[in-house]
């Protein structure tokens, strides 16, 4: 009876390097550049969001 081999199949010894699993701040800031809100827009949005939560 042929026993299962303990050798790792050769093809599995070489694993392709995976891309960095985490997004970086540099990447996020670059993606956010296409949006152009002002500080006032952000403040208003937070206020609206919290007011909606309070009403719910």
């Amino acid at each position: 009876m042929r026993m299962p081999s303990r050798d790792t199949p050769r093809g599995r010894l070489f694993v392709r390097a995976r891309p960095h699993p985490f997004v970086t701040w540099a990447d996020l800031f670059e993606r956010a550049e296409c949006y152009d809100p002002t500080e006032a827009d952000v403040i208003d949005a937070v206020r609206r969001h919290r007011a909606a939560d309070d009403d719910a």
């Binding site: 970086t24 701040w25 540099a26 996020l28 993606r31 956010a32 500080e39 827009d41 952000v42 969001h49």
Partner: protein
């Protein structure tokens, strides 16, 4: 509940979202936190929920999701009742002596007076934090010894 420390920082949802979407003082302030491993950004799920909702509204859903994934690696989490003001609760329970906010109602003199004696945190506009941040002096106080300079890439 953590004892208050000047090395612990809370940022309200407006500062978190403005860091990503606007830049300016919010990004400058949070860059100080990102580039020093001995500073801790304290947050809660409620606080990040608020910021994520704003990023989704003013940006897009993918950006908001990826921001959440990234910021969660940055933060130390505390829990608090949903009805609490998230930023104040995080600062209080997380021992953050700095609370970065754009909310005028928290930055007002009357809010400062109301907080004093109850919470050892100072609400600050991110511009003020950026201007007053003295890494060398803070390092001496919380770590000890000579300040070696930033030890992390704030864009990583």
């Amino acid at each position: 509940m953590r004892s208050p420390s000047p090395a612990r920082v809370a940022a309200d949802a407006d500062v978190l979202a403005a860091d990503l979407l606007v830049g300016g003082p919010s990004r400058a302030a949070l860059d100080h936190v990102r580039e020093h491993s001995w500073l801790t950004l304290v947050a809660s799920d409620h606080l990040l929920d608020d910021a994520e909702a704003v990023i989704r509204e003013l940006g897009d859903a993918d950006l908001a999701r990826d921001w959440r994934t990234r910021i969660e690696r940055e933060c130390e989490f505390v829990d608090h009742p949903a009805e609490d003001h998230p930023a104040l609760a995080v600062a209080y329970r997380g021992g953050a002596m700095h609370l970065l906010t754009l909310d005028e109602s928290l930055l007002s003199a009357s809010a400062g007076a109301a907080l004093r004696g109850r919470v050892e945190t100072s609400p600050r506009h991110p511009r003020a934090f950026d201007t007053l941040f003295d890494a060398a002096s803070l390092y001496r106080e919380v770590v000890g010894g000579d300040y070696p300079g930033p030890d992390r890439d704030p864009r990583d």
